[in-house]
């Protein structure tokens, strides 16, 4: 059985070109870039090259790039730094649909006495920007918002919001983990102060992240210790992975056009095919401002984990918006915040594509899914009721 991998918002395969770049830096060129000898120093040169490539993807300068261990660390570092450099400000603005890396930290900070505004979204996943702007106050330290949603792919107008925040002297951070490599990111276009990236979402390995900190923005290190990363993130550099994410960013830049054309066409084909062949199915989230690779689709009266396990039997990998896969019991906080009805929220599947997918794979999914959904509907006590 061949595997059809459509779960690229969860993680991606390491690109062969990325792996090839990394391999020499484990057992051959294993020097410490901080060392005085050229054996280590040469690795340092390679890191410089990687830093430039990461900076290029988002139109930043290399000095603005800090390597971290993952997207979650980048998010934590950004949010906690914003509070540390603004000790008098006790307010953060975020949204109700953030990734747990931001959401759970904000909820923790709320218990610690900070005031957090969780800006709601509408039925299509669009942010209530009026409420967001009116929440900006004198004691607001930070606005932190995802660039694009991991579950629905809905894109927030982060550039416009960064501009408004900047006018009020409020720091702006964006979790761009899902947006990077899928839509163009240009930090020179808007006053974005901090931005998080993750390697494993763009065909670099797991365990490497990036935090962009705009030149001139005060930064308080999350991990204190050695002088690495200009004193902004201690710890011996994860050299091979940094080299890997450098190469991955280079490739991501080259593939942006393909994302917006071939990948988008595959997603649209899959979306149309599923909607046409499976009754009582519906797309979650605004279709206009959406990542080109993401499709969140709900099937009424069936449950996500059961769908995924039957898909798994046919080699198709995807995710669900269902509770049962994650251990919690409510459907995803994103779908609930959008007020997606329970009957389709529980049966929501997220397909997320990459440039490695093919149109033939989409056709295979389109021909396989109707049978899976029907099989579960045949034993669902809610199916006839829904249909009637």
């Amino acid at each position: 059985m061949t595997t059809i991998y459509t779960d690229n918002n969860a993680t991606t395969k390491v690109a062969p070109e990325v792996l090839e770049e990394m391999l020499p830096y484990f057992s051959e060129m294993y020097g410490n870039p901080s060392s005085m000898h050229s054996f280590g120093g040469n690795v340092g040169l390679k890191l410089k090259d990687a830093r430039q490539k990461v900076a290029d993807l988002i139109h930043a300068t290399p000095e603005e790039i800090i390597f971290t261990s993952c997207g979650s660390e980048s998010d934590n570092a950004a949010i906690l730094s914003a509070l540390a450099v603004n000790p008098d400000k006790k307010h953060i603005i975020t949204s109700v649909v953030e990734h747990p890396a931001v959401k759970n930290l904000c909820e923790f900070l709320e218990k610690e006495g900070y005031r957090i505004t969780f800006v709601p979204v509408d039925r299509m996943g669009r942010l209530d920007t009026d409420l967001l702007y009116s929440s900006m106050a004198d004691d607001t330290a930070l606005v932190t918002l995802m660039w694009a949603n991991n579950e629905t792919g809905v894109i927030f107008p982060v550039e416009e919001i960064a501009q408004k925040a900047s006018e009020k002297g409020i720091l702006f951070h964006t979790d761009a983990v899902q947006a990077a490599g899928k839509v163009p990111i240009d930090v020179s276009r808007a006053p974005i102060d901090m931005l998080s990236l993750s390697g494993h979402k763009i065909h670099a390995p797991k365990g490497i992240g990036v935090l962009y900190v705009k030149k001139g923005v005060k930064f308080h290190p999350f991990l204190k210790g050695g002088h690495q990363e200009g004193g902004r993130r201690a710890g011996t550099e994860n050299t091979a992975s940094i080299i890997g994410i450098g190469k991955a960013c280079e490739l991501a830049g080259e593939h942006l056009k393909e994302m917006d054309t071939r990948v988008k066409a595959m997603r649209d084909h899959l979306e149309a095919g599923l909607l046409e062949n499976i009754p009582a199915s519906s797309v979650n989230g605004e279709q206009e401002h959406r990542l080109p690779n993401t499709l969140s689709i709900g099937f009424d009266a069936v449950e996500g984990e059961s769908i995924l396990l039957l898909m798994d039997q046919t080699g198709i990998c995807a995710s669900s918006g269902s509770a049962c896969t994650s251990g919690s019991l409510d459907p995803s906080h994103v779908l609930m915040a959008m007020k997606v009805p329970f009957e389709s929220a529980h049966g929501t599947i997220r397909f997320s594509l990459s440039t490695y997918n093919t149109m033939a794979e989409m056709d295979h999914i389109i021909s396989t899914m109707p049978g899976i959904i029907q099989r579960l509907r045949d034993m669902s006590p809610f199916w006839k009721k829904t249909q009637a």
């Binding site: 896969t325 006590p381 809610f382």
Partner: protein, 187 residues
């Protein structure tokens, strides 16, 4: 990914007795769309009070389907008296165990069976005795106390695994913790 036993996988992939039963003698329904799982159990009962056939319709995850399938296999041939003694643990044991977080699926099976038997016997049970503690899943304090005592649960987290209570918005977790502590002291 959950670690399901081979039996759970088998009953999920090849569910026994799924589908609607024509003119059943007893029906037991539990769960709801909002809860994320639901089971409708159908029984045929002969003049001697023995279950001759069972079928189910289930909405839910793999362990919910497997628990329902197992339940129908287990009750066939039993007298109503014996069937009434089946517990959620018996269902889980039949399937070589369920992940702890999925124990509520076996509780759902037990609940539907009791409701079917009661409806057959014409017993009107009071809707949900006790006071609702978990509003997300409509679970009462008496249900929590019973689950703590019969399944020897230790924490609010355990209660969530068995009854789902506390697993939604989380507002009632503190209250559940208090109920667990009191019930443990009484036990």
């Amino acid at each position: 990914m959950w670690e399901y036993s081979d039996k759970v996988k088998d009953h999920f992939l090849n569910p026994r007795n799924s589908g609607v039963m024509d003119s059943p003698d007893a029906v037991g329904e539990t769960g709801s769309l909002s809860c994320g799982d639901a089971l409708k159990l159908f029984l045929k009962v002969n003049a001697n009070g023995r279950i001759t056939d069972a079928k189910f319709m289930t909405f839910g995850c793999a362990s919910a389907v497997a628990s329902s399938s197992a339940l129908t296999e287990m009750v066939k041939g039993l007298t109503l008296d014996d069937a009434a003694k089946l517990t959620n643990d018996d269902i889980a044991d039949y399937l070589d165990g369920l992940p702890k977080e999925k124990m509520h699926c076996s509780v759902m099976g037990q609940d539907a069976l009791r409701k079917a038997i009661n409806s057959y016997r014409g017993i009107q049970i009071q809707e949900k005795p006790g006071n609702v503690v978990c509003e997300c899943f409509g679970v009462t304090d008496l249900e929590i106390i019973e689950a703590v005592k019969t399944n020897n649960l230790d924490s609010a987290e355990d209660v969530t695994c068995y009854l789902k209570a506390g697993g939604g918005c989380g507002k009632c977790v503190e209250k559940i913790t208090e109920i667990v502590a009191t019930a443990k002291m009484e036990a």
